[in-house]
């Protein structure tokens, strides 16, 4: 659609007609409802709610009665359409607002929408335009309360939302793990002026102070001094300047530091002090830099004073003065560090620019259903990451490239509300991921290449999973492009989606697969493997029973580990499985490292087993097939025999060949039919199946299904078993729990094994007891 909107702003030279790529921007407009718009000084942020139809793989048990036929598969797989809710946030420059409104008008099918929530300084300026174009009533919302609502929302729902900026580090962003309790905090919004708001709870906040020296002062005064018109240009100018030639430093007065007051010589004693005393021309860049320092320092100082007064140590900065500008983030950070001597950290938000729009949207949404009752997750596939940090690249690159510059954030509504695992020792310091790839450049390089290499395999698997759909190939190609693009972005900007980890790389892949309607590429494989493994269940149990106690315990552990070898996520294994279809349980056992293992606390575990049985064990399971049926279930059986209750936690949604909750239900039913111990366990509710709430091959113990948490608490769980590379090594390797924990995995990646100082198929057996 070509927009014929007249561009009135002549300062921006751009194409009059821009073709909007509809599958990239303003997606899912057909079902869109509840619009909100935040029009700032230069950027417009649009938010809407939409429903997305997704194909979801469902498994359904055949209606078996009596004896089952041998050839028939265990369960049937069907792909169904499921509707999920998604929030869309789009940010673009004000100059495009007319084009965008036209586009929305043309694509908006849903006519229920009558009102659009608006906030921001420009809301009244564009009010008539919006009302005319969209025929929606503009409902103005208070800017500050929207901002805070938005801030609460992102802090709660996006892990790694807040970050610290460190200029000379690589990378410059240090993401903070979200605290379970986000309140209270101080929000310093630096728009034209500065507002300092103390937020105590969801609805309780107070503007405790402010200053008139803010972004407007920088812009206004900067324009007067340097004759530079645009904010971005001013910032670029500032990043080149030397403030010492304009500012009077302590050393200019004292000749050196003023040590008895602890003032170093390089401190600014008087901003612009030299321009009063020295009779010469000052360079524009130097003046801009001095101005930037003056304003940042002043804001930093005020923020510190307020933080101190109200005893707060979390201070978030936002507003157009900050908005991802590394220069201002640096000067603010510097000033905060200086004034608080490092006690308070300046925190910035990744989605800072969207806060107003999110808040305005939530205000509208609250009128019928409160979105806060759900958990939301960032959709990596649909969101643009944090923009480039280099000031030279940031504003210019986008205008030069000629395409419509926009930035997006999409958030999926999760089916379940996510909470902390109650057994975490210290929820506020829990970090799921073992290695932060943003900081570990070598590991980052390896994993990015690793995922790139594995991409072809994933694509072919995806195509193969939908043999009867003709467009599968095309979609798979699109998926490949998208994921490749994401990897490329991440290679350049590892911080784009918060801390880069193996987990986030895996999650991004899942999101992208879902995006192109490949809900569960491994469903067929899982089905086949489950079928196959079930046949051996009886035999395995028999052979285990024939062993004495000590041998049986070892055999059980070994079986579990051997089962864990069957992981389609690991390239080394999938290669074997493809080339050697006869590779089975016994072969896997032989591949395993002999004791002593790489990490070997088996003796401690055995000693513990000789003691009293556990009350209840929480078992996070990994792969389907041999892993779950021949590895996990025998151990579960043993635990049940000991009188330990078992909670089996499996993924809610598919990820690789990990067993899902619905699959596990059928499998348990099947096994119960074969085995009396399991059967009585199920009947007496000693064996419970729960879903973890995640669809990731990894495990974040701070975002688990609320139901799981309830069961764990009710049953007084005193043992947590975490199985698999994704759950026990990539994540949670260092997780400290307040009960006993057992983490087992086989390292199926030679690079990772190398890092741990072992070889491929090395075994990690980590049994830990909490310190008393």
């Amino acid at each position: 659609m070509a927009a014929s909107g007249q561009m009135k702003r002549s300062s921006h030279s751009m194409d009059k007609s821009i073709i909007l790529p509809p599958d990239e921007i303003f997606r899912n407009l057909e079902n869109a409802k509840r619009f909100a718009i935040d029009i700032g000084g230069s950027l417009t942020k649009l938010a809407y709610y939409s429903t997305v139809q997704h194909k979801v793989a469902k498994v359904r048990s055949f209606d078996h009665t009596g004896k089952e036929a041998v050839d028939e598969p265990l369960y049937e797989i069907s792909v169904q359409e499921e509707v999920t809710a998604r929030l869309h946030f789009i940010k673009f420059e004000n100059a495009y607002i007319e084009t965008c409104l036209d586009f929305i008008k043309d694509h908006l099918v849903n006519t229920e929408t009558k009102v659009i929530k608006a906030t921001g300084g420009g809301a009244y300026k564009f009010k008539d335009l919006i009302e005319k174009k969209l025929q929606l009533k503009v409902d103005k919302e208070d800017e500050m309360s929207c901002l805070i609502k938005g801030c609460n929302f992102v802090l709660k729902n996006i892990p790694h939302e807040a970050f610290v900026y460190v200029k000379h580090a690589d990378p410059e962003f240090r993401f903070q793990t979200t605290q379970p309790d986000i309140f209270p905090y101080l929000l310093v919004n630096i728009g034209s002026g500065v507002s300092i708001v103390k937020v105590e709870s969801e609805d309780k906040f107070e503007r405790i102070g402010g200053s008139s020296i803010g972004g407007g002062t920088f812009w206004g005064l900067g324009a007067l001094l340097t004759n530079t018109k645009r904010f971005d240009e001013l910032l670029q100018l500032a990043s080149r300047g030397q403030h010492a030639s304009v500012d009077m430093l302590v050393k200019d007065i004292y000749g050196g530091g003023y040590s008895c007051l602890g003032l170093t010589g390089d401190l600014i004693a008087s901003s612009f002090g030299k321009s009063a005393t020295e009779d010469r021309e000052f360079s524009k860049a130097d003046m801009a830099k001095s101005l930037l320092h003056m304003i940042s320092n002043d804001i930093g100082q005020l923020a510190c004073l307020y933080a101190k007064l109200h005893n707060l140590n979390r201070v978030y900065f936002g507003g157009f003065f900050i908005r991802g500008h590394p220069v201002t983030m640096h000067t603010i950070t510097y000033s905060i560090n200086f004034f608080t001597k490092g006690e308070v950290q300046a925190l910035f938000l990744r989605h800072e620019g969207y806060l107003g729009a999110i808040g305005a949207f939530l205000k509208g949404a609250e009128e019928d259903t409160d979105p806060n009752q759900y958990s939301w997750g960032e959709n990596y596939a649909g969101s643009s990451g944090l923009m480039s940090v280099s000031p030279e690249l940031y504003p210019m690159q986008r205008t030069r490239s000629g395409t419509f510059p926009f930035d997006m954030l999409e958030m999926d509504r999760l089916d379940r509300q996510l909470v902390n695992l109650p057994l975490l020792l210290d929820p506020s310091s829990y970090i799921p991921d073992t290695v932060d790839l943003t900081e570990d450049a070598m590991a980052r390089e390896y994993w990015l290449s690793c995922f790139e290499e594995a991409l072809d395999g994933v694509v072919s698997r995806a195509v193969a999973s939908q043999p009867d759909l003709t467009d599968a190939k095309e979609r798979a190609e699109k998926f490949s492009q998208k994921y490749q693009h994401k990897l490329k972005t991440l290679r350049q900007q590892p911080f784009a989606y918060g801390s880069l980890t193996v987990r986030s790389l895996l999650d991004t892949r899942e999101h992208c697969l879902n995006e192109f309607n490949f809900p569960d590429p491994y469903s067929k494989i899982k089905q086949r493997e489950n079928d196959w493994a079930l046949k051996f269940f009886h035999k395995v149990v028999k052979s285990l029973e024939s062993l004495n106690w000590e041998e049986r315990q070892f055999s059980l552990v070994k079986g579990l580990l051997a089962g864990n070898v069957f992981d389609w996520g690991a390239k080394a294994v999938s290669d074997i499985l493809v080339t050697d279809p006869d590779f089975g349980f016994e072969e896997a056992k032989q591949q395993l490292q002999e004791r002593p293992w790489l990490i070997d606390t088996y003796n401690k575990w055995i000693e513990r087993l000789k003691g009293p049985p556990h009350k209840c064990a929480l078992f996070f399971v990994d792969n389907s097939g041999i892993d779950i049926i021949l590895g996990v279930f025998p151990l579960v059986r043993e635990l049940l025999c000991r009188g330990t209750e078992v909670i089996l936690a499996s993924n809610s949604g598919p990820a690789l060949n990990d067993v899902t909750y619905s699959e596990l239900q059928i499998l348990t039913e099947r096994i119960a039919a074969m085995d009396s111990v399991i059967q009585s366990g199920v009947q007496k509710e000693q064996l419970i199946l729960v879903q973890s709430g995640s669809s990731s091959p990894c495990l974040d113990l701070s975002r688990l299904d609320k139901g799981l948490a309830t069961v764990v608490r009710e049953r007084h769980t005193d043992l947590v078993i975490i199985e698999g590379m994704g759950r026990a090594i990539h994540t949670n390797f260092y997780a400290a729990l307040c009960c006993e924990s057992l983490k087992l995995a086989v390292i199926k990646n030679s690079w990772l094994a190398d890092r741990f100082g072992g070889k491929i198929f090395s075994v990690v057996f980590k049994y830990e007891q909490p310190c008393k």
């Binding site: 309360s145 008139s212 002062t217 005064l221 009077m248 901003s271």
Partner: protein, 540 residues
């Protein structure tokens, strides 16, 4: 009035030390009183060493001796020790790290808690009376005749006594140098005769002019007449010139052969440190450096205690938010502590003063007088502070600043912000049209409002944080600056919602009403010190 006694004592001390130095094998055992003696001692040491031709043996015990004694903890380590303590390190570990006794660390912490500083408590003892030149002279005369009577040496050296005019005090700030000169009016004929030629010429030059060179100005209206100081009657003159001209001043000192007058210049302010070397090398003048903040507080208390014309020195504004009914009211500062002292010079220092000696610098900001003048110079092309202020007095800042009502159309009720409050300083200047039509006066005014508002806001926060409800504003920025004082009073009122009042100092001399005089208060402190220094030479 018999000056001989202390001088004799001083002379005796110097010669004894010298004798001891010559005899001692290792002068380092003795805690050297001053840098100068230390060097002297070292020199003597070297001579002795050379004579004995046995370097090794003399050196070794030296090393041992120094090791036996715990070394003093240098200033930077004290700061670090304190930092480590605050960072959660154990006292014993800190002591080990900086190689001192645990008790030292404990005492350091105690001292910091009490005084907020890590420097030593002020040592007892008199200030030095003799200049290094005189010390040198005493030594030489002792060498010439080691059996000479002390009184004889004293008489020979008797050049540095009370009469050694000129009396100067200087405050070398970032922008301005403030100089006070005491002109004795009770000069006897005898003295007149004795007065050295160039001293006379200095006196004549300073008192007969009101402007010096291109930039020096004597503030005639500030002159204090018929002041009695150390038994001498005279006038106190206040002269200022830009710090940039400092080198010319030093050059003048050299040309006029200041050093021959055997005078020590008392100086405070940052420049006392910066230019010390220049004074010494270029003009052979020693600066007696005095701590700036000490001076400031003493000066403030001094000025307040004098009560000019029976009027309290302090005042505040009633109804600062209402320009029509804004009235100046005197205020008594009988019990001044605790107070928050906001010193606005080129930059701003904020001090919490709990007593004369117990104060700490709470914070400061770089947005001060220098920023006002600097920005005004850049924005309006003006050259002097007076010009800038004059323009500011005429301007209207609302043409430059974006007010709350410019954004919200009126009051922002959700947060209780009045429409007339400034939302964004220089906010209107973001638009080109407004930039093109703005007047210089408005810009100057906006700069002033921005700076004063900011200082008011920070001062108020500090007052609340420090739990002090009295805020006194002083500083050169407030000189001849009724506009600023009113604006500051308004800012204080605005930020504290009427809870806190801004207090200012008045300095009325010669029937003229003059606002503010931190310059006076500061420089006077120097004078007080100068006087104290001499006073001590009179009374044993």
């Amino acid at each position: 009035m018999e000056p001989t006694a202390p001088v004799a004592w001083e002379v005796q001390k110097i010669s004894t030390i010298f004798i001891r130095n010559r005899k001692a094998m290792d002068p380092r055992q003795r805690n050297a009183d001053s840098e100068d003696e230390w060097i002297q001692a070292k020199e003597t040491d070297r001579v002795t060493v050379l004579k004995t031709q046995d370097t090794k043996e003399t050196c070794l015990p030296t090393v041992k001796n120094t090791q036996r004694k715990m070394p003093r903890v240098p200033a930077h380590l004290r700061e670090r020790a304190l930092g480590m303590q605050q960072g959660g390190m154990r006292t014993a570990d800190v002591a080990r790290t900086i190689n001192c006794h645990v008790r030292t660390v404990r005492r350091l912490r105690q001292r910091y808690r009490e005084s907020g500083r890590t420097a030593d408590h002020p040592r007892s003892g008199r200030p030095r009376v003799t200049t290094p030149a005189q010390d040198r002279y005493i030594r030489i005369s002792h060498l010439r005749d080691s059996f000479a009577e002390i009184s004889t040496v004293c008489n020979v050296t008797y050049n540095f006594h009370i009469h050694s005019f000129p009396w100067f005090g200087m405050d070398i700030g970032g922008t301005l140098v403030k100089l006070v000169y005491f002109e004795p009016k009770d000069i006897t004929a005898e003295e007149e005769q004795e007065e050295v030629e160039n001293l006379k010429s200095i006196r004549k030059y300073l008192t007969s002019n009101t402007a010096y060179g291109k930039t020096g100005i004597r503030d005639v209206h500030l002159e204090l007449k018929n002041l009695t100081m150390c038994g001498r009657k005279g006038n106190l003159h206040f002269i200022r010139f830009p710090t940039q001209a400092m080198h010319r001043f030093i050059q003048m000192g050299r040309d006029k052969n200041f050093s021959s007058l055997h005078t020590t210049l008392c100086a405070t302010g940052g420049g006392a440190y910066k230019f010390e070397e220049d004074f010494r090398t270029m003009a052979d003048l020693q600066l007696q450096k005095l701590d700036e903040l000490d001076c400031l507080i003493q000066g403030l208390l001094y000025v307040d205690s004098v009560h000019f014309n029976g009027q309290p020195e302090c005042y505040f504004f009633e109804n600062p938010s209402d320009p029509q009914n804004c009235l100046k009211r005197p205020c008594c500062l009988d019990n001044p502590f605790p107070m928050l002292l906001v010193n606005i010079g080129s930059g701003v220092s904020i001090l919490a003063v709990h007593s004369k000696d117990n104060y700490k610098r709470v914070t400061g900001t770089s947005l001060g007088g220098g920023t006002f003048l600097g920005l005004c110079c850049l924005l309006t092309g003006c050259e002097t502070f007076e010009e800038a202020l004059e323009m500011a007095a005429k301007g209207d800042s609302t043409n430059v600043d974006k007010l709350v009502r410019d954004i919200y159309g009126g009051d922002y009720e959700r947060f209780g912000l009045q429409g007339s409050a400034v939302a964004s300083s220089f906010g209107h200047m973001m638009s080109k049209e407004k930039r093109d039509t703005i007047s210089k006066e408005d810009l100057a005014r906006a700069t002033l409002v921005t700076i004063t508002n900011n200082i008011g806001s920070i001062a108020r926060m500090c007052a609340v944080n420090e739990k002090i409800d009295r805020i006194v504003f002083v500083g050169n920025f407030l000189r001849i600056n009724m506009v600023s004082t009113k604006l500051l009073a308004y800012a204080m009122d605005f930020w504290s919602k009427g809870q806190l009042k801004a207090l200012f100092l008045e300095h009325e001399v010669c029937q003229k009403e003059i606002e503010v005089n931190a310059m006076c208060s500061k420089t006077k402190a120097v004078v007080v010190r100068v006087v104290t220094g001499y006073w001590l030479t009179f009374i044993p």
